[in-house]
Point group: C2
Chain length 263, copies 2
């Protein structure tokens, strides 16, 4: 039964999952997006935020690598023993990351362009057998290109997020995280605003891009559903055509790394 919005005095935030056919290397991600939107009977509106699954974008950008093509370097074997991962995958992880913090079974914790990510974002789920998918080369730049393409074709100012799934400290299961963003303010700064009692706020920044990346997981799934896009409508995201990038902080300013890596 369709929901009758007119019975409520408030406009809900809405998230539409947009299906596509299987995406192949060298596909045009924007064309696929337009087809998905059309199939769903939707159009863009100003202020919408589009969430794109990083694996879909990376596949279209031909970031699929056959493990047989990987030449092993000197240190890959060491981490393979620690993690139990294929040494060829380790080699790619080392090539793709700036810092390796260490490993446990199944994962190396790495830093890539300021993003903390397991295995440098390399995934062998949703990749052909014997292959892995690297992160998109520059997710925020790709997001910005989609922002521009949407504006050119639809005349609407839309924000774009490139999203991945991520576990959180001491939690079972994955939420979403924005690994790239453009066209809106990825973090809302509420410094200067007041709390319920008129005192200055202590928690002052909302990670809008990460919140919407997580929300999108609720319609995209992480399996074989072929839902590479989610369209978020009516969020408080602030459009900003010049904005590009997600906001990271240095390890020393981080509640987790600042405390744990110095113990």
């Amino acid at each position: 039964m369709p929901f009758d919005a007119s019975s409520s005095s408030i406009s809900p935030l809405m998230i539409f999952g947009l299906k596509s056919a299987l995406i192949h290397p060298h596909d045009d991600i924007f064309n696929i997006l337009c087809d998905s939107l059309n199939t769903a009977g939707l159009n863009f509106e100003d202020g919408d935020v589009l969430v794109v699954a990083e694996s879909a974008l990376a596949t279209a950008e031909n970031r699929v690598v056959s493990l047989d093509s990987v030449r092993l370097g000197a240190v890959a074997e060491k981490y393979a023993g620690l993690t139990g991962l294929d040494a060829r995958e380790i080699e790619l992880i080392l090539q793709e990351s700036d810092v390796v913090y260490g490993g446990v079974h199944g994962v190396l914790l790495t830093l890539r362009d300021g993003l903390l990510c397991p295995n440098a974002g390399i995934d062998n789920s949703n990749a052909p057998d014997g292959s892995v998918i690297l992160y998109p080369e520059d997710p925020s730049k790709s997001a910005q290109q989609i922002v521009k393409s949407i504006f050119q074709k639809f005349g609407k100012q839309v924000g774009v997020i490139v999203a991945d799934s991520r576990t959180q400290p001491l939690r079972l299961g994955c939420t979403g995280v924005a690994i790239g963003a453009a066209g809106f303010d990825a973090v809302t700064d509420k410094r200067g605003e007041k709390d319920l009692f008129g005192k200055p706020l202590h928690i002052t920044r909302i990670a809008v891009a990460d919140i919407l990346a997580s929300a999108a997981e609720a319609v995209m799934g992480e399996c074989g559903e072929c839902v590479p896009f989610a369209l978020v409508r009516n969020s408080f995201a602030v459009m900003n055509p010049e904005a590009i990038g997600v906001e990271t902080i240095p390890a020393d300013d981080c509640m987790y790394l600042g405390i744990l890596k110095n113990k």
Copy 2:
């Protein structure tokens, strides 16, 4: 302009922010919820998930503590120097936490009933001057009580999340996290399902409660908005009247703590 859902072939996930008046100690949170729902012109449907801000619940549960009432123990001063926090607040943090991992400016990283949380969840935002708000005593038990009250009054099976905001490792800004849950499966287990290429999935669990807690932040805000509830409709949350609690993992199994605290 209201959205005309009939133009699309898909039913979106929807999130409604529900406003209330200022909540006071000893208020009945369920009565406030019913008033908020009524004001918004909404009713519960089977499968809805209600997100409750932990500060609203904690205030109604009279978890507000005046700092003047706190008697300092032996170690509070030590952490006060490290963090710059009021020693009386530190004392409460020590009383409320099971483990203190360490501190940086403004925060002690603590474990409370398996939940990793800054300052044992104690917050002086949205508290009267000179007071702080502790976490609800048992957030999942409170969530379960709301599940039962909703079923009794409305005859609908609804999931309930008690949500807080939380920074993520190396990220600027807060997302949402479930500190309590009941009435639905907090984590969806997809082990055994296949990826796009028919291979077994590697990432197999979705932290549904955390995803929806984050999504709710997009309508609740963290400031003086007085939006203590969010109603999530059309998510893939699986109702389970017996389910209670969020799912945490031990430090050794965690990608972050397992690696960083052993360095």
